[in-house]
C-alpha cells in the first residue's frame, strides 16, 4: 500500500511493465508515464494495444509507429499542470521489424528481397519472436535517439514472459545458427554434403505440404546474410540495454490465480537473466477498511429496523461476498510478496469504473504514487 512509484523509479531511465493479459498493464503504463511527465520529465510511453477510448482520450487516434506528443491542452481541463512532456506511441511490430531490416540492409535490393519474401513475415514471427524483439528494438531506438528522461514500455500480451527476455538472444542464435550458415556457403564440399541433406529435408517437406519453400528460403537467407552483423550488433546492444542499471522491470498482476502464477514465473525468469526487478503492482485488488469488516450478521441486525429484514439481509450478503473476495485477494497478495520477495508491493484498489479516460489515469497514478 505504501511506496511512491516515482521514488522507486528514481535514477531509472527505462521502465518495462510486464504481466499477463488483462491485468491492466496498458493503463498502468499510461498512468505512470502521465504522472512522471506531469512531474517534469520528458517521457515516452510505448503501448501495444491501448483501448480505443483511452487512445482517443489522449488525442492519439491517428497513432503511427513514432511517438507523438500529447497536447498539454488536452490534459489541462483535468487539472494537470504539465511540467514535462508526455509522448505516446502504439507499437506496430511489423513496421518496426521492417524498419530495422531497411536500416540494416546494405542496399535497396537486399532490403526488397527480404521484405518482399513470401515467408519473411512468418519467419520473423516464428523464430525471432518478432513482436517481442520489435518492442525492445523500438525501446533501444527511442533511448538512443529520443532524448527522453524516461521511457515506459508496455510489453506485448505474450503468454510466455520468456519470449520477451529472450528475444535478442534468440535472434542472434538464429542468425549465428548452423541452418543459416548452410545457406550462406553456396560452394565447397561441406556445402555440397550438407546441401544434399538439406534438399532431402526440403524434398520431404515439399512432398508433405505441397509447398516448395527451398527457393524462398534460399533467397531470404542469402539476403539476410548481409544483415547478420548489423543484427548481431543490434541484438547485443538491446540486451545490454535490458541489463543496464538504468533499466527496471515492473511486474503487474491482478490478485487472481493465473496472473499471480505468471507474475511469479516472470520474476523467476528476471532473476535468472539477472535483470532488475523494480517493483510489484497488484492491480484491482479488493481492499477493505477496518469498518468494512464488520460481521455480516451484525450488519443485518443493525440495519433491520430501518431497512426491513429482507433488504438488510441483502446488504449483509453483499458485505459477506466482499469480505470473502478481499480475503482471497489478500491471500494472493501474500503469495506474491513472499514469492517475489517484495514485502512492499503497490496495491491499487479495484476502482469504480474502468480506466479509459484522463481522469481515470490520474486516479490510477495517484494510487501508484501512494497519494490515492
Amino acid at each position: 500500500m505504501t511506496g511512491d512509484i516515482g521514488e522507486r523509479l528514481e535514477g531509472k531511465r527505462i521502465c518495462i511493465v510486464a504481466g499477463s493479459g488483462g491485468v491492466g498493464k496498458t493503463t498502468a503504463s499510461a498512468a505512470l508515464a502521465l504522472g512522471l511527465a506531469a512531474a517534469g520529465k520528458r517521457v515516452a510511453v510505448v503501448t501495444i494495444d491501448p483501448a480505443r477510448r483511452l487512445a482517443d482520450a489522449l488525442g492519439l487516434d491517428a497513432l503511427g509507429n513514432e511517438p507523438r506528443m500529447v497536447d498539454p491542452a488536452v490534459l489541462e481541463p483535468h487539472g494537470i499542470e504539465m511540467r514535462g512532456e508526455l509522448w505516446a506511441m502504439m507499437l506496430d511490430p511489423k513496421a518496426t521489424f521492417d524498419g530495422l531490416i531497411a536500416k540494416l540492409a546494405p542496399d535497396a535490393a537486399t532490403r526488397d528481397d527480404v521484405l518482399g519474401n513470401r515467408i519473411y513475415a512468418q519467419l520473423s514471427n516464428a523464430i525471432a519472436g518478432s513482436q517481442e524483439f520489435s518492442a525492445v528494438a523500438k525501446l533501444y531506438e527511442l533511448d538512443r535517439d529520443g532524448d527522453y528522461d524516461a521511457i515506459v514500455l508496455d510489453t506485448p500480451p505474450s503468454r510466455n514472459a520468456l519470449d520477451f527476455l529472450d528475444a535478442p538472444d534468440r535472434l542472434t542464435d538464429f542468425f549465428e545458427g548452423r541452418a543459416l550458415k548452410l545457406f550462406l556457403v553456396p560452394t565447397g564440399i561441406a556445402a555440397r554434403v550438407m546441401g544434399a541433406g538439406t534438399s532431402v529435408v526440403f524434398g520431404i517437406l515439399k512432398k508433405l505440404t505441397g509447398v516448395n519453400l527451398l527457393d524462398d528460403v534460399s533467397v531470404l537467407f542469402r539476403a539476410m546474410g548481409g544483415l547478420i552483423d548489423g543484427f548481431r550488433e543490434r541484438a547485443t546492444a538491446v540486451k545490454a540495454l535490458l541489463a543496464d542499471p538504468a533499466t527496471t522491470f515492473l511486474i503487474v498482476a491482478s490478485p487472481e490465480r493465473e496472473p499471480v502464477a505468471e507474475a511469479i514465473f516472470f520474476h523467476q525468469k528476471l532473476r535468472e537473466a539477472r535483470m532488475a526487478f523494480g517493483g510489484l503492482i497488484v492491480n484491482r485488488a479488493v481492499v477493505l477498511d477496518d469498518d468494512e469488516r464488520a460481521d455480516p450478521d451484525a450488519i443485518r441486525a443493525q440495519l433491520r429496523d430501518e431497512l426491513g429484514d429482507a433488504l438488510a439481509a441483502k446488504v449483509a450478503q453483499s458485505a459477506q461476498d466482499l469480505q470473502l473476495l478481499a480475503a482471497r485477494n489478500a491471500e494472493a497478495i501474500a503469495r506474491l510478496t513472499s514469492a517475489l520477495d517484495e514485502p512492499d508491493p503497490i496495491v491499487v484498489p479495484r476502482l469504480d469504473g474502468e480506466v479509459q479516460d484522463i481522469d481515470g489515469l490520474l486516479l490510477l497514478y495517484r494510487h501508484l504514487a501512494g497519494t490515492g
Binding site: 499477463s20 493479459g21 488483462g22 491485468v23 483501448a51 477510448r53 513470401r118 515467408i119 513475415a121 512468418q122 519467419l123 516464428a126 523464430i127 500480451p157 503468454r159 510466455n160 545458427g177 548452423r178 541452418a179 548452410l182 541433406g197 529435408v201 526440403f202 520431404i204 517437406l205 512432398k207 508433405l208 505440404t209 505441397g210 509447398v211 516448395n212 519453400l213 528460403v217 490465480r257 493465473e258 496472473p259 502464477a261 477498511d289 469498518d291 464488520a294 450488519i299 443493525q302 440495519l303 431497512l307 433488504l311 441483502k314 446488504v315 449483509a316 450478503q317 453483499s318 458485505a319 461476498d321 466482499l322 470473502l324 473476495l325 482471497r328 469504480d352 469504473g353 474502468e354 479509459q356
Partner: protein, 301 residues
C-alpha cells in the same frame, strides 16, 4: 445445451483475463456429467486447465483422465508435428531423422500457418470416431481452450489458408478435410467468453464479424463471466441511499453501481452479438468448477 453437446468440437475463446480456461473446464464438466466422453484440449502452451483440474506429473501431450468421462490434453505444435511425421512417414527412422533435424524444425516453423495447422490437425484427430492414434478411444466431444480472441480465428482458418497456399500434396488434401469439419456448424460451435467490460465486449463483437467472414461460422454462444450480483431494485437502491453513512450500505451501493455498469455492458454485448449472453457469477471465494457447471447447465439449456 443438448444442441451444443451434439457437436464434435466446442471452441472456447475470449480476451486474456476473462476466465476462458475456467469456462472451458466447466463446459467439459457439463458434457462429462451428461455422459459424453469428453476431452478438454488446451492450445496455449502452459498447463492452465490442468492447474484448474489439478493434473499431476504427466506429460502435457498425453491424454489424461481427470474425472469420470473427462480427459485433458495440452497441445504443443512440436509434439503434434512429431506425431504427424510418425503417422505419415513409412519408416520410423526417417521420421526420427526429420524430428532431430534443426533445419527441418526451422523450415516447419517458418512455413506459413504450419504451427496453427498442426495444432488444429491434432484437434481434428481427437474429434474423429476412428482415431489415428494407435489404440486411442474416440471422444464424443472435444472442448477446445483456444488462444485469445484474435489468434483463435487464425487457428481455425489455418487449414483453409494452407490448402489454398499449397499446390497439392497430402497436407493440402488433409487441410481440406479438416477445414470441412471446422466450417461445418453441425460439427463445431464457437463460444466466446467475455467480462462485462468495455474492451472485452468490443473484442467479442469483432470476433463475431471475423468468424463469419473467415470461416462462415456463427458465434454460437456468448458467455458473460465473473458478473457481480445485481441485487438491488431501483427502489431498494433509493432506500439504501438514505443510509449511505453506514459503511456496509455505502459499499453495497458501490456494488450496485458496478452491477449497473455491467448491465450496460451486457446490453452492448447483446447488441453487438445479436444474442442474449449466458451469465456466470463471480465466485467470491474463487471459481468453483462444479458450481460453474451447474450454472452453465441451467443457462445453456
Amino acid at each position: 445445451m443438448s444442441a451444443l453437446l451434439q457437436r464434435r468440437l466446442l471452441v472456447v475463446t475470449g480476451k486474456g483475463g476473462v476466465g476462458k480456461t475456467t469456462v472451458a473446464a466447466a463446459l467439459g464438466l457439463v458434457a462429462a456429467r451428461a455422459g459424453k466422453r469428453t476431452i478438454v484440449a488446451e492450445v496455449a502452451q502452459r498447463g492452465d486447465v490442468t492447474s484448474v483440474f489439478d493434473r499431476e506429473g504427466s506429460r502435457p501431450f498425453e491424454e489424461v483422465q481427470l474425472a469420470p468421462n473427462l480427459f485433458h490434453i495440452s497441445i504443443d505444435p512440436q509434439d503434434a508435428l512429431e506425431e504427424y511425421l510418425r503417422d505419415q512417414l513409412p519408416s520410423g527412422a526417417v521420421a526420427q531423422v526429420l524430428i532431430r533435424s534443426k533445419i527441418f524444425a526451422m523450415v516447419a516453423a517458418a512455413t506459413p500457418g504450419m504451427r496453427e495447422l498442426l495444432t488444429v490437425g491434432k484437434l481434428w484427430e481427437l474429434a474423429q470416431m476412428n482415431r489415428r492414434t494407435p489404440g486411442a478411444d474416440a471422444y464424443d466431444l472435444v472442448v477446445v481452450d483456444a488462444p485469445a480472441t484474435g489468434h483463435g480465428v487464425a487457428v481455425l482458418s489455418a487449414p483453409r489458408t494452407f490448402a489454398a497456399a499449397a499446390g497439392g500434396g497430402p497436407v493440402a488434401r488433409q487441410g481440406k478435410i479438416i477445414d470441412a469439419m471446422l466450417s461445418d456448424p453441425e460439427q463445431i460451435a464457437v463460444i466466446a467468453v467475455a467480462k462485462a467490460e468495455e474492451l472485452a465486449v468490443t473484442e467479442t463483437g469483432a470476433l463475431r464479424g471475423s468468424l463469419k467472414e473467415r470461416m462462415g461460422l456463427p458465434l454460437e454462444r456468448v458467455i458473460a463471466n465473473m458478473l457481480d450480483p445485481d441485487r438491488f431494485s431501483p427502489r431498494e437502491a433509493t432506500r439504501l441511499r438514505a443510509r449511505a453513512d453506514h459503511p456496509a450500505v455505502k459499499r453495497a451501493l458501490r456494488g450496485h453501481q458496478r452491477a449497473l455498469r455491467q448491465r450496460a455492458q451486457l446490453a452492448r454485448l447483446r447488441k453487438l452479438t445479436g444474442q442474449a449472453p449466458a451469465r456466470l457469477a463471480l465466485h467470491p471465494g474463487g471459481p468453483d468448477l462444479e458450481r460453474l457447471a451447474d450454472e452453465l447447465e441451467e443457462q445453456l439449456s
